[in-house]
């Protein structure tokens, strides 16, 4: 019994007709008790008998060849087991959905601190010591690490109308350069793997987001059949893109474990995570806006320069949101990729929007200023009717409502002129920005088995803090009319049906749809059994034709079904995106240049909300990332070697408790996206960060009149602006 759906047409709102009343409710995470008691097991918590410990050896040069390893000192260390290296070792993590091995450079080095081998010992202490004792010799070559002087590739991009000519004609223009520094995911769980072999089969416990792809990536790296790989990742301590693809920890652990015939654990130290896991590129963005004096935008230009290493297909899609957020007949967005030898770049939460919307939305604030217009009104006035590039209609689109509702709830009308609100040495200001994050549907499968009034959900989907355990239980309980306690959700085992994986905010809606379709198939079976098309399911009972029967009485055998979803025509003839509006109030210290965020409000339209509590948590989490991007997060590179020098959590500043105000609220707008998927939901994991930092940056300008265009807006930059005034 299977149910397959290709999204070729809008789907009926079945889940608005069901009666259990559990979907959307802000129930607590079902796996919560495990997490607060320390019994949830993350990859590095596994400790199979006989396990050896591995520490990655990393290159001390930026570019060249490894010509030899001298193990003599390491061999004298008690408990030393050996050194592993060779042509199967990978250079860096696989890009999201790569589905094949990343670059395997053998003895070549392409960036500073690239993993080049694995040192294994009986204890972690001995392995760490031995890794320091091994002497590596190199043939070093020169390497370009500056994005500006390294070779550049033109990637093109949308070019509609005549931007240059229109910019010459427009009443008011903005033409500014904005820069963002490299950033990292910095998930709190270190990237790590435990590998063990049994009868030629690899069992890998690893911190990963997208298991069906990861399985093929590791199999291809090792040169084995994916059938011989099983991956488990029941708990993942945050991913944010960094765990989309397999990393050197997994491949090296598997190689050593096979060779030694015993389990091997490799956990990257925090510094290795900074050095060798894909970072977010730095960007240089040129944003051009042209408008008539009444505030109608006629030109939008957004060109960007980003970095990546040769051989990596990913380029930060910086102008992704700029391509459809506002209407304008003349549009030009050209991307250039610099091929240099910094740590390679990849997806970090909301690739594209997270940095691109800083440029665009600060430029919008500059345009409003030059027009002498309210920044909320400017945005409202330029909301497009259709996707400006393709001309296709939008699905549910809540930007206008979000801006209006947010302005009202936040008290936007009390916003003063720049620099006009003061409390002692603190200057107070408000800022606004739009939020947008394109919505996607990925192929996904899930199995649901109903036995009496108890159901089990099985899929290789991960829960990286995103709430998968809880929302799949809610979808199942709602669709089958069961108390939530009667649903068990089993995740993140490649033996289960292949899900979308967690990434790009598509996990909940894609795999959630597969869970729903499996339930739909079971509902059809129930309908057949009670001989009625009109029936309701609630609390483990079915009511049809005025008669109520317990499911356990109706079903003499368990019902099992696999649901499967894939995208179809609706994604061709419509554009589906989450939208929202961010509002921020900040205080700027005129003596020190310090910026404190006082309060924030985000209003979002993201289709059907599957769990109000976990959705809000994710959105607020994203908004707090916005605070980090605006004020503190910066992975600085050594100009000589490209090596990241802010490579720990003391030097790379993610937001801490004290950076986050008590008042950081969200409003979820009532919305259904019928064209997105059969559960009418859109992603929320990245919408919260998209634009959030820009609201903070625009609030700084309103507070003190200083326009920072090089992000993050650290106190030295704010101070320089204040001094210049």
């Amino acid at each position: 019994m299977n149910k397959h759906l290709k999204m070729d047409a809008p789907q009926p709102r079945v889940l608005d007709e069901t009666r259990q009343g559990i979907l959307g409710k802000g129930i607590s995470r079902t796996e919560g008790p495990k997490k607060v008691s320390g019994s949830a097991t993350y990859a590095g918590d596994n400790h199979p008998d006989g396990m050896a410990h591995g520490v990655l050896l990393r290159a001390g040069i930026t570019k060249g060849k490894v010509t030899g390893f001298d193990e003599s000192a390491a061999q004298k260390i008690d408990g030393y087991v050996g050194l592993f290296h060779g042509p199967k070792f990978i250079r860096n993590n696989a890009q999201g959905m790569a589905d094949e091995a990343p670059v395997q450079p053998d003895c070549e080095v392409h960036y500073h601190s690239q993993p080049i081998g694995l040192v294994v010992a009986e204890t972690f202490e001995a392995a760490r010591d031995a890794a320091l004792a091994i002497k590596v010799s190199y043939d070093e070559e020169g390497a370009l690490v500056d994005p500006k002087s390294a070779p550049q590739e033109d990637q093109g991009g949308p070019d509609v109308g005549d931007l240059e000519a229109d910019m010459g004609r427009a009443d008011v223009t903005v033409d500014e350069i904005y820069t963002t520094e490299a950033q990292v995911s910095a998930a709190m769980e270190l990237h790590g793997s435990v590998a063990q072999w049994n009868d030629g089969k690899l069992l890998l416990q690893s911190s990963l987001q997208m298991l069906k792809f990861n399985r093929n990536e590791i199999a291809d790296s090792l040169g084995i059949d994916p059938e011989n790989v099983r991956i488990l990742a029941p708990y993942v301590g945050g991913g944010f893109g960094s765990k989309l693809g397999i990393g050197a920890d997994a491949v090296s652990a598997a190689i050593a474990a096979r060779d030694l015939g015993r389990p091997v654990r490799v956990i990257m130290p925090r510094q290795t995570v900074f050095d060798a896991v894909l970072r977010r590129t730095e960007t240089e963005q040129r944003v051009r806006l042209g408008a008539r004096s009444d505030g109608t935008i006629t030109s939008i230009g957004h060109d960007d320069l980003v970095s990546n290493l040769e051989g990596e297909g990913f380029a930060e899609p910086t102008s992704q949101a700029s391509q459809f957020l506002y209407a304008a007949p003349n549009r030009k967005m050209q991307q250039t990729v610099s091929r240099n030898h910094r740590t390679p770049s990849g997806s970090v939460r909301a690739p594209g929007e997270a940095v691109g919307m800083l440029g665009l939305e600060v430029a919008m604030d500059e345009l409003a200023e030059r027009l002498g217009m309210c920044p909320v009104k400017l945005r409202l006035q330029n909301v497009p009717e259709r996707d400006p590039d393709s001309g296709v209609p939008f699905t549910a689109h809540s930007l206008t409502e979000a801006l209006k509702r947010g302005a009202q709830e936040f008290g936007w009308k009390d916003r003063k002129a720049n620099g006009a609100r003061r409390e002692g040495e603190w200057l107070i200001g408000m800022g606004v920005a739009s939020a947008a994050r394109k919505n996607m549907l990925l192929p996904a499968k899930a199995r649901v088995t109903l036995d009496g009034d108890k159901a089990v959900v099985e899929t290789d989907m991960t829960d990286i803090g995103t709430g998968s355990y809880t929302i799949f239980a809610q979808i199942t309980a709602e669709a089958l009319g069961l108390p939530i306690e009667n649903v068990e959700v089993r995740l993140a085992d490649t033996d289960y049906p292949e899900a979308s994986g967690s990434g790009g905010s598509f996990g909940a809606s894609s795999t959630g749809s597969a869970v729903f379709l499996a339930c739909q198939s079971i509902r059809e079976e129930i309908a057949a059994k009670c001989g009625a098309n009109d029936f309701t399911l609630k609390d483990g009972q079915v009511t049809a034709g005025g008669k109520t029967t317990a499911l356990s009485d109706l079903l003499d055998a368990p019902l099992s079904a696999v649901g499967e979803i894939e995208k179809g025509q609706t994604s061709e003839d419509h554009l589906s995106s989450g939208f929202g509006a961010h509002f921020a109030e900040v205080a700027v210290n005129e003596v020190s240049g310090e910026v404190r965020v006082r309060r924030m409000l985000g209003v979002f339209g993201a289709g059907r909300i599957l769990n109000e509590k976990t959705a809000k948590s994710q959105l607020v989490g994203g908004m707090i990332w916005g605070i980090g991007a605006a004020l503190t997060e910066e992975a600085a590179h050594d100009p000589r070697t490209g090596h990241i020098i802010t490579r720990d959590l003391a030097n790379y500043h993610v937001a801490s408790h004290a950076d986050v105000p008590e008042q950081i609220d969200t409003i979820l707008l009532e919305e259904r996206d019928d064209y997105a998927n059969p559960i009418q939901a859109k992603g929320v994991g990245e919408l919260g960060i998209s634009g959030a930092g820009a609201a903070v940056l625009n609030a700084i300008y309103n507070a003190c009149g200083v326009r920072v265009r090089s992000f993050p807006a650290t106190p030295d930059k704010v101070m320089a602006g204040l001094d210049a005034m």
Binding site: V36, G238, P269, G621, A650, S656
Partner: protein, 166 residues
């Protein structure tokens, strides 16, 4: 040493941190490693009632000490008040920083009850009123990249308020 009320005796490499001893030798893996450098707080445990980063201290330095880890607070089916408040307030997403947050909050509530002031206390001698700003300041050694901060503080504050009322 005594761990969660149980006497444990270990024969260790002298370089073993308290964190690694707990995780790898005693197999108490609820205590997490996020940096191994005292920068994230994921490894917070109580030593003789005071919170410390267990990655920054060697196991060998704790001969005779009393250690409390997350496993010592309340099991999955028997959560203590603070653990239950974290679940109710959604004070976590991925859950990786969570044992550290909860242990740190436990130590912090004790410090506040003893009247220990913080950087943001208005008065050094006048007792402690655990406002949101006080909790934020006192918890800033515990990073949460999922950024559940407001909900973590709500959970802590709900327990602090209850304790104050008792």
């Amino acid at each position: 040493m005594t761990v969660n009320g149980e006497e444990r005796s270990l024969d260790l490499d002298p370089r073993t941190s308290l964190l690694d001893a707990l995780r790898d030798d005693l197999r108490l893996t609820g205590t997490k490693k996020g940096c191994d450098h005292g920068q994230c707080g994921a490894c917070t445990v109580l030593v003789n009632g005071r919170r410390i980063n267990s990655c920054l201290t060697l196991a060998a330095m704790h001969d005779g000490d009393e250690i409390t880890t997350i496993e010592g607070l309340g099991a999955e089916d028997n959560l203590n008040e603070l653990q239950a408040a974290f679940v109710e307030c959604d004070g976590f997403q991925c859950g990786y920083c969570t044992p550290g947050q909860i242990m740190s909050a436990t130590g912090m509530l004790n410090e506040a009850a003893e009247g220990m002031p913080s950087h943001v206390s208005a008065d050094l001698n006048d007792g402690v009123d655990l406002s949101d700003a006080e909790i934020a300041e006192r918890m800033s050694g515990n990073l949460c990249r999922c950024s559940a901060y407001p909900f973590i503080r709500k959970a802590i504050s709900s327990v602090a308020t209850k304790e104050a009322a008792e």
